[in-house]
């Protein structure tokens, strides 16, 4: 396991980028992506802490603003500042901070910041290199601009639900299913990150900042792979299938039960099987006496294979029903079949491949005197490492460090801010 302070002291790729983050669920993940890659991300919360601190799960199930594992995950490597930007005193401080920032990442309702005098025009006046990225449900204009949403609502409107669910044969009245995990916000954060990186690249050469308007709805609408292309090409709308691609046709099943209660997800039968590969697969199945007729020479003809998709699926289903999940998955992979076990966190924890890649990261929580294991990065950057530099900030943890130390506000000045309730 790697620890918070890696031996490798190289700066991350985003070193030198200072971010003011004023966002909850919409774009906090974008802030985390940047912070873990070396940006100095200052999370600005209203005094008393942000709403996302009330979202569980909680440490040992005890509801508390400093014990949200959800907040912990999405706010690693950031520093924390409390500031009431609705008060004139808070706005003054915010303007001073904005003058030092590379990027402001915000997700207030469209038009809110300009309405209190903190729009891009005002803030960039004395900081022409400032980039501001607004992540809102529908963008800054349009008929749905002010509609209120949630993750579920975005996955409904964005098309994820229309593609996900069950075959009618499996569950006759199943609704469209919104995949879990809060992914509408992830999808939006990924696109926001791309827009921001483009703006940073431009800024590096020209010194110019700019305003970026990200729509969660558009980001989700872009994320259903071939559904739109199929509609544009044929006018057909895809139908939902259990554990596999939505499609116009009634494709054979690819998610099969194993004899220990698990499920294995195989690639669509027939779509990638050459005659040589069928021999490899059938020989393995034959070792278990379960090859059925797949060793037959007729399957050396690709046309026959394509037409026999359902038969292949049936034979595979029976094969998997006779073995444990790990044998099915790793056995297939060793023979070069790109199949996946349906894993839960129980199987992912301690996965030796992930350990080889130092994926599991130990993060210190000094306030609790404990270290906890967090997920690592998706990629290994060989010259500028990804790392979690600190656990999520406590409420107002860095007020003094940032306002006093970096902005030079005096002790009495800080006390005054406290009195007005601005911090």
């Amino acid at each position: 396991m790697t620890s918070t302070n890696t031996e490798n002291n190289l700066p991350g790729p985003l070193a030198g980028v200072r971010v003011l983050e004023l966002t909850g669920e919409h774009a906090q993940f974008c802030g985390k992506l940047m912070a873990d890659l070396g940006a100095d991300v200052i999370k600005i919360e209203p005094p008393g802490g942000q709403e996302t601190r009330k979202v569980g799960p909680f440490l040992k199930d005890e509801e508390h603003l400093e014990r949200s594992l959800y907040f912990w995950h999405y706010n690693t490597s950031k520093r924390g500042l409390t500031l009431d930007i609705t008060l004139p005193e808070g706005q003054e401080v915010f303007k001073k901070l904005a003058a030092t920032a590379t990027l402001i990442l915000e997700s207030f309702p469209a038009g809110y910041l300009p309405s209190i005098g903190l729009g891009y025009e005002a803030l960039s006046e004395n900081n022409p290199g400032l980039i501001m990225c607004s992540v809102t449900p529908f963008g800054q204009d349009g008929p749905w601009r002010d509609y209120k949403t949630t993750d579920l609502l975005h996955l409904g409107a964005g098309g994820q639900m229309a593609s996900s669910g069950y075959d009618v044969e499996d569950i006759p009245d199943a609704p469209p299913i919104a995949p879990g995990g809060g992914n509408a916000w992830h999808i939006a954060s990924h696109y926001a990150y791309i827009g921001i990186m483009g703006a940073l690249y431009h800024r590096d050469f020209t010194g110019e900042g700019q305003y970026i308007d990200v729509s969660v709805h558009e980001a989700c609408s872009l994320t259903t792979e071939g559904a739109i292309a199929i509609y544009l090409s044929t006018g057909d709308v895809v139908r939902r299938h259990t554990g596999r691609h939505a499609s116009v046709d009634m494709s054979p099943g690819i998610q099969h039960a194993t004899n220990d209660g698990g499920f294995i997800n195989t690639t669509r039968s027939g779509s990638n099987l050459t005659p040589a590969r069928i021999k490899v697969l059938a020989s393995w199945m034959d070792e278990h006496g379960l090859a059925d007729d797949l060793l037959d020479d007729k399957y050396q003809d690709l046309k026959v294979v394509e037409e026999a998709g359902q038969h292949f699926a049936d034979v595979l289903k029976n094969f998997f029903a006779n073995m444990p999940l790990v044998e099915a998955y790793e056995g297939g992979q060793e023979l070069n079949f790109p199949w996946g076990a349906v894993r839960t966190m129980e199987e992912i924890m301690g996965d030796p491949h992930l350990e080889d890649r130092e994926f599991f990261v130990s993060v210190e929580h000094p306030e609790l005197g404990q270290e906890f294991t967090y997920p690592g990065g998706a990629a290994i950057y060989n010259a500028s490492p990804w790392r979690i530099t600190r656990r999520a900030p406590l409420i107002g943890e860095h007020n003094e460090e940032i306002l006093g130390g970096e902005l030079g506000i005096s002790k009495t000045g800080l006390e005054a801010l406290q009195k007005t309730g601005a911090i």
């Binding site: 299913i177 990186m197 703006a199 294991t373």
Partner: protein, 455 residues
């Protein structure tokens, strides 16, 4: 920082103009990554070989009726590869390898999504690339990454989703997982490929250094399950548990009240049928507070059942979800899904239609207003709708850079105009099977390019 070769003509909405990308990717995740670099203005050169065709070029489900089927005729390839240039070259031929090396020496980014270590086997691993171009940004996008004991394991989107824990997050309790009805980790793996390239370019601006970024598609998925991960690693919570995953709800009726990692616990929070009863006649409604529930009661027309005090608290609504959802659905079934969303939203209730692909293209007023689709002329598909970016830069809509390349469409211009290859060398390359397989029939545009080299 790199020398500025733009002479002050840089555009905020095309920030990557002047960046050259050698794109070895295929199928979906990799091409989708490079597609976004192109959309931001980069010159992306897609490297292909007709004998081992990108699977998306063969996607028979997206050839429009009346269009001659072929590798240049699929809608799915078109959108996934919009705005790139097409180079056909055999990198396993010594002359092909030399030419590719020349191309890399004048490029900024190399991106690929082969199985791990294939590029090294071709003599194009990072150590080699660095010799050709010391500050090259090299992004590899293998399923399990380039390192780790199972680096050679392969993935397609659905398998990567299964292994990452994403599949298990989606479905109804007591049933097999519904999973994701598309390759979410091809879309998202593609986003990460673009993110890695952009991040490494930013680092190059800071330091003048390139680097190798070793991305894993499967691990990308794990990083999207953070709350579930911490609930296990810190609280020891098993995810194979009663009532989980709770479908579209936050808590399944009768199951203990605990978070399902989507966001706040709320009720109502579900999908409901709407008027018409068609396959996608559904809406989604969520109330995140007692006040929002009270507003919904008014929108429902204040029916007697809804005013029962057992629904007045979140705890009560969670305990009586089946009855509550039945009552809500009686009302939603009387309205068309768009009208329903408008009525709810006008009152401040969170509701949206479930939209199909057709809905998003034809019926979504917001996407229409924002100009999500831009028609671009495509040589085989005619005027074709391409998806734009979900962000505006400096107020500008970001459309695709252009149509996708026909296979090998730009080979002669890249080899000749960019790398300075003479016409004689080009013709020799075609004769020897470097730029087109000897046994594959040539498309008219390939014949024409050869003709022009002859002149």
């Amino acid at each position: 920082m790199q020398a500025d070769n733009q002479n002050g003509k840089r555009r905020k909405d095309k920030p990557l103009e002047g960046v050259r990308v050698v794109d070895f990717t295929w199928v979906r995740a990799g091409p989708w990554a490079a597609r976004w670099l192109a959309t931001l203005g980069a010159e992306v050169i897609k490297v292909e070989w007709p004998e081992n065709m990108d699977m998306l070029r063969l996607n028979r489900f997206t050839v429009p009726p009346g269009v001659e089927p072929g590798p240049n005729s699929t809608g799915q390839f078109a959108d996934t590869n919009a705005g790139k240039l097409g180079l056909s070259i055999n990198v396993r031929h010594p002359k092909g390898l030399d030419a590719i090396k020349s191309l890399i020496s004048v490029s900024d980014v190399v991106i690929e999504n082969f199985s791990s270590r294939i590029m090294s086997r071709w003599g194009l691993g990072y150590e080699e690339l660095k010799k050709l171009r010391p500050d090259v940004v090299y992004v590899s996008m293998a399923g399990f990454g380039q390192t780790g004991r199972q680096h050679y394991f392969g993935t397609m989107g659905p398998a990567a989703q299964a292994l990452s824990g994403l599949t298990h997050l989606s479905g109804l309790p007591g049933e097999q997982p519904a999973g994701w009805g598309w390759s979410y980790l091809d879309d998202t793996g593609g986003m990460y490929g673009a993110m890695c390239a952009l991040t490494a370019l930013k680092h190059r601006n800071n330091t003048g250094q390139g680097q190798h970024v070793d991305l894993s598609q499967m691990i990308t998925g794990i990083t999207l399950t953070g709350s579930a991960f911490l609930d296990k690693s810190i609280n020891g919570r098993e995810s194979r548990r009663k009532g989980y995953p709770p479908g579209n709800r936050t808590v399944w009726p009768g199951a203990p009240v605990m978070n399902n990692y989507r966001g706040p616990i709320a009720a109502p929070h579900n999908a409901y049928r709407t008027l018409g009863g068609g396959y996608n006649d559904w809406c989604v409604i969520a109330c995140l507070s007692d006040d929002e529930w009270t507003t919904l009661i008014e929108v429902l027309g204040s029916p007697a059942w809804a005013k029962d005090s057992k629904f007045s608290t979140l705890k009560g609504r969670l305990a009586n979800q089946d009855e509550m959802d039945k009552g809500i659905e009686e009302w939603t079934s009387t309205l068309a899904k768009y009208e329903l969303a408008d009525v709810c939203q006008a009152a401040g209730v969170r509701a949206m239609p479930v939209q199909s692909s057709e809905d998003r293209v034809e019926n979504d007023p917001q996407l229409r207003h924002r100009g999500m689709f831009t028609e671009v002329n495509h040589p085989m598909l005619g005027d074709w709708k391409f998806q734009g970016a979900p962000f505006r830069l400096d107020g500008n809509k970001i459309a695709v850079k252009g149509p996708p390349p026909m296979i090998g469409q730009h080979t002669t211009s890249i080899m000749g105009d960019l790398l300075g290859m003479s016409n004689a060398e080009l013709l020799e390359g075609y004769d020897e099977g470097v730029f087109w397989p000897e046994t594959t029939p040539k498309f008219p545009y390939v014949e024409q390019a050869i003709e022009e080299a002859r002149k």
